[in-house]
Symmetry: D3
Subunit: 314 residues, 6 copies
């Protein structure tokens, strides 16, 4: 159950209206890396986590709720940046000011003028935030990832926080309002804090690599296919030890020749039988473990989400 | 600022898994008339209302927050209806049960079997809710309406609640789990309650018709164009008194002839000059009033959303 | 069957090209509250209405056809506002004028210059209307609502007309072309006229509340949950009599406490048994009535949509 | 201006309900190659054609209006194929029949059972057509093409009619209702008729190749790059005379070598200067012609779409 | 299997940054008629063609691969047009230059200033191409057509190439950078070359009309319905011989009267029995032929895509 | 420049048709975590990396090209799983087999029958892959992330590979065809290999934390807001040392009280001045470094993407 207090988590303020920046800031309201995307991603991930992993559920709901609170801060800031637009549009019988602006006869720094560069502020929302990105694209749940596996979901979250942090960093370059910068700095920093929370949570799951349950197939794990010819580079991603797996990279300099020679990579499993067996064993063990974690936490009979006492009214 | 308590607003329970109904229920999680759509519609409308109409802001945020809480109830119910799916998928090394089902060798009522009729439960969410409708269409903010005018927004909300109520009514016919029906009955009823709240709020605004600020143009207000020929019907929508405007309907039986004769409706304003003047006057008055309501509520200088005391740290 | 006459329903004219306003006007051509959305909404609703409610079918098709005719007026106006763009682009071997504009060496008020602020006019439609909104978002049928129940569909329509009216009101502030204003005033007014038609049609259905067939569950009908704390407001939406239901609002000042105390709202149905019975009875009666209205109007055997005589050629 | 008569263009009939086929048939109602897509494509193309090419405008509006009429036929057929669904859903208080079906206790051929395989019929439209494709994807105006040039638009239309014809051909294999097949045969055939209309119209424009105004650059017109190695085939598309241009194909057997050797195709224009000049000349001539066709048809001063007499009321 | 060489197919160069044109050029990167749309259309069509029509498969893959290579050229050009944007944004601690531009205190021709007119370059991609059109709409696979029939697919491709050619033609008018124009001229011309390849391939299929397998129904093939009244035009699309079918057009001057008189076009098949028989015969023959072409090319038993030798490792 | 060899990178085979699994496998062809999404993500990221970071550019293009090659493998497998569908549909005049299946009179395991559960295979692609997910949602470029900063892009890629790996893991449970499983095992494993490549590349950038350029604001870095009440959990994500930053978590047990007390988090910066200064210093340094890396790699004058020699033809 959610509730709301009217005070914002951070004391958001705005020195003066700036519809141009309000347009850019929509990116964090209804954009692909914005606050709604973050909130809904963690919120939907939380459902599958609740019974088997109540500690991760608690964390996901804590952070999801904070992201909702940030969504409110961003919306409030956009609304304040658009001060004057709604009031002006309500003066529907007297369009003198708007047309003066439209016709270049009014001061250039006029608020209305800037608002017009974003049609949605003029004719759809009438000077308020809408759940679109900075170019008017409606928010879409495809922006969120929830895949029923914490070793994957937490990695999705780390990437999401990285992108959200970067977008705030870019946005901060387009305003010199000290109040707005203060708010953006707060919001940007919280993405970094969430990043570390998700890193810590991921590290607390053992094993967490590879993501999911199954091991990689040892026959195809360490090849690097040099598929882009010309000025090819070598680095830790294709030579020396692999960063996680206990193998060395196998650099396939001529992938087409190699593929043809191996008849479509069929003939390269020599001497790998033992490794295949080990993989199979690990797969079975982790499958049983992870499956049991979940299954054992699901009660038999009637399912109930909350801990309510239902004795008296049955 | 939002916060969250782990108890649901309603004690949602499920007798036994039913992935088939979980698929249908997605309509209220990520569908066009679902709980997220309602929550986000009222939440975005609230920003523009806060300063000029704090009472309506309070109502919009109360109901938006309840809709978020309903979204959680729907998600929790879907998760419980999918019990077993995630655990089964985690047993990644042993697919015997799943394939037995796939090949028709397992009991027909098997949970996994039903889950497979919705691919997203099998290969994307792994047995949890996703923000899509019952056919997998991602939720999209185009489902929400926020237009910066309460006489319009409240009517959008009344329609939204009507549709949401109807979808619950339809859904209730596809389950006979008494616990699930109880939850759906609660959720359906709350849509009706919200409907009445919005009706009452709309009635408290004077005038609230026509929606927005401007009067209708008296030259074109009362014609009914009979544009679909054959078995044409008459009723209060095209004969007798108009329901709101103090005029009678003017039934144009032959619209093409009429349009040609009036040279594109140009010549029908005879004797309407007085009415035109009145309209203009009303437009000016209401424009000033509504514009002033908003403008006067916006403080000069630095804008601040919350009532925080900023003296000590400036 | 549709047909078309080349004369517009209203004599749309344009004083001089204005690509900037053409961009805004797209909102009513391919936008979420535009003419196509209205036309397609009423058109799709009409199919289910035809047999059981031929009078409402007639009204829906009359208005849908008028909206198609308005779509044509809007498209024609956009085309006239873009005069010069297509011809200029066809002069493909001589780009001197366009580049002069691009490089700021031509007069600022140049038509081409303004057209370039909307890329779709320059490189996609080449100076004609496209079915997008003012920001280029393609029209999408999610904008329309058709739910197989007139008490809901008509309310969706009232809301749609409200929004469409408001968008015209906003648009009228961004042009001072008297011909264009005249056309917009006509179109805006027709939305108001349609609003009243739908109101009258809704009032002619008895009962029409709650929307759909089922009554609200009397246990959950009248609570108002005060879920947004701080400066909470009271008004007819949460105190005194409910506007439609014969009950008083029950204001839950502390929803979290209340929910916990009632174990998830389970224990509040005391003394409500009689009301529950009545609800059940009303549900059964209206279910039978509405179901019979529809079923009885569907002929047995071969279904035929039109009244054609098929004797001679069977 | 559109109008409507209640009789369909074709006497659509249905032997008995078949919700399963109704689902497939949605492809022609709200699918990418369906009737709405065709209608809207020709309708939007028509605006730019009206003044310079009134004969093509007439044809586009004739066919667009027929496609609207076909959309109505498809919708009517879907509605008849779903007979019983809406009535059953309205019996909201008595779900016995629906649940009997859901639980496998009712006859397999039951209409409701089949309807449930498409969730939108059960919980959104309640047994009527919606503007989606057969998988529930909402119709989107990206399906239509309107590019302000008849030599391109007519080719888009020929392709659209080809696809629409093919989809009807596929659909006809999934029903054995003779009435429905008759309707589909009519609709399929009309797509072929329209195909020929567009072919004839395209042939009446001289020159119509290349599409648009500019000639192809003679340096890059006739190379065929053999970019997919292994079992390469030769045919009239890469050897011998080009089908339209008066040149022979130049088969580049080793594109990578060729590109490197020519330093990115820079050095191959030898002896082509004369051809370049001719191209430039042709470009200038056709640019002037096409530009003039359009510009000269646009009247000076106030633009008016219809031929109304405006003398008396100015 | 794909591979890549770092050299572009064409030596793309840019004289100086021009973010404004970069925005327009996105139309060919991620727009509906752009290079990705073409590449993916031919690539997906190729799968069904591989076994029955290996020569067409080869052609489709040759051209698809060239379009991928063109996508790379367009992306490289956009990146070069945005030189300076990414570096400037990375100077995150010193926003002086950006704000000087934003506040109108820096030179107007500044690169950053122009980049800001496209929000995605400022806050999402940070100065690189994204897969959107010129208005920020994400690329969507609905732009591609692949329908499992070469007589249809090739016509879709001819239309696609026509539109792509036209968009390049339009784009060339908005830049005067000679290097960029050179690249655009190359790309535009290749669309024309592909157009001819598809024309030649279509002509090599006998018969290829009507598209697909089934003949048109002779009862409904040649009527032209005059559904748009007023200034109706006659031309080869509605009078005289049909361009392909060996019939004359039948001009229905009064479609509504005709439809009513024929009871929904039911009674017009007189004397057409012989033609119907012929149609049926042709349908059967071509069905068998086309079906056999495909079926006979599909090997029995295990299917293998490539010609690898699998003897040794089975 | 891309090229193509007809041999697949892996020798994909299929034992027998299985349209049901083909539907699920679409998730990796046109789904949000599929091969096209991966290929396009790395491909678009590569443009910005080319000049400043040619080694990372090489890696991104190597992996992007491998993903395109995997897309081809997935498409080929889907095509083989659908053997028989296209040929059957081409037998357009004889629908006996299809209707026998539709009417339950043919063997249940029939290929056509299974194909019909996915409408797109029956009426759109006619038995070939389309760029949609398993529920028919068109692929959309919103699935890809490219943000002009390698410390962010590489993290997006790690998350993308994690999700892609997991989806293959899920898919492997829904087939028991040993050839298909072999192919899926190869593809799944390559996602793991790419994961490690991106990890290694990220580790080679110093510093790479926080993502982007700017440091976190020290005032807001380490608070954990306990916003979900009830059964709150403690773990390394909210107690003890932070995993990366050299601080300890500050657990805000009562966030609402804390926020009110600090007047919206304004008053908590005591004693943090020194840390603020350090942050500012780090920000300036890294800004200069990263900006210079990019700027210095961009040549002055004409930009050219490839290393072609242009002397001779200038």
């Amino acid at each position: 159950m959610f509730h709301h207090v009217k005070e914002l988590q951070f004391n958001a303020r705005v020195s003066k209206p700036d519809p141009r920046f309000a347009t850019l800031l929509l990116e964090q309201f209804g954009g692909e890396n914005g606050e709604l995307a973050a909130a809904m991603q963690y919120f939907t991930q939380a459902f599958a986590a609740k019974q088997p992993y109540p500690d991760k559920y608690d964390m996901l709901m804590d952070i999801a709720t904070e992201e909702f609170s940030h969504l409110e801060i961003v919306g409030a800031t956009i609304q304040m940046l658009l001060k004057g637009v709604n009031g002006e549009l309500k003066d529907a019988a007297d369009q003198s000011e708007i047309m003066a602006v439209m016709n270049g006869k009014a001061a250039k720094e006029n608020v209305i003028h800037q608002a017009l560069s974003n049609p949605q502020f003029g004719v759809l929302s009438a000077g308020g935030p809408r759940l679109t990105n900075s170019q008017g694209i409606p928010w879409c749940s495809s922006y969120t990832h929830s895949n029923g596996d914490l070793t994957v979901d937490l990695r999705s979250n780390i990437a999401s926080e990285s992108r959200a942090k970067l977008v705030y960093e870019y946005l901060m370059q387009f305003t010199d309002d000290p109040y707005v910068k203060e708010t953006l700095s707060f919001l940007m920093t919280r993405e970094v804090a969430h990043f570390e929370m998700f890193e810590a949570a991921l590290a607390s799951i053992k094993p967490n690599y590879p993501p999911g349950v199954l091991q990689a197939d040892p026959r195809f794990t360490n090849q690097y296919f040099n598929l882009s010819q010309g000025e090819s580079a070598r680095g830790p991603w294709n030579e020396g030890e692999m960063p996680i797996s206990p193998k060395s990279w196998d650099y396939i300099a001529d992938p087409i020749g190699h593929v043809k020679e191996t008849e479509g990579l069929q003939n390269q499993e020599d001497g790998i039988a033992k490794e295949m067996k080990l993989t199979e064993k690990l797969n079975k063990e982790l499958s049983k473990t992870r499956s049991a974690e979940i299954t054992s936490s699901e009660p038999n009979g009637v399912a109930q989400w909350s801990n309510y006492n239902t004795d008296k009214n049955e």
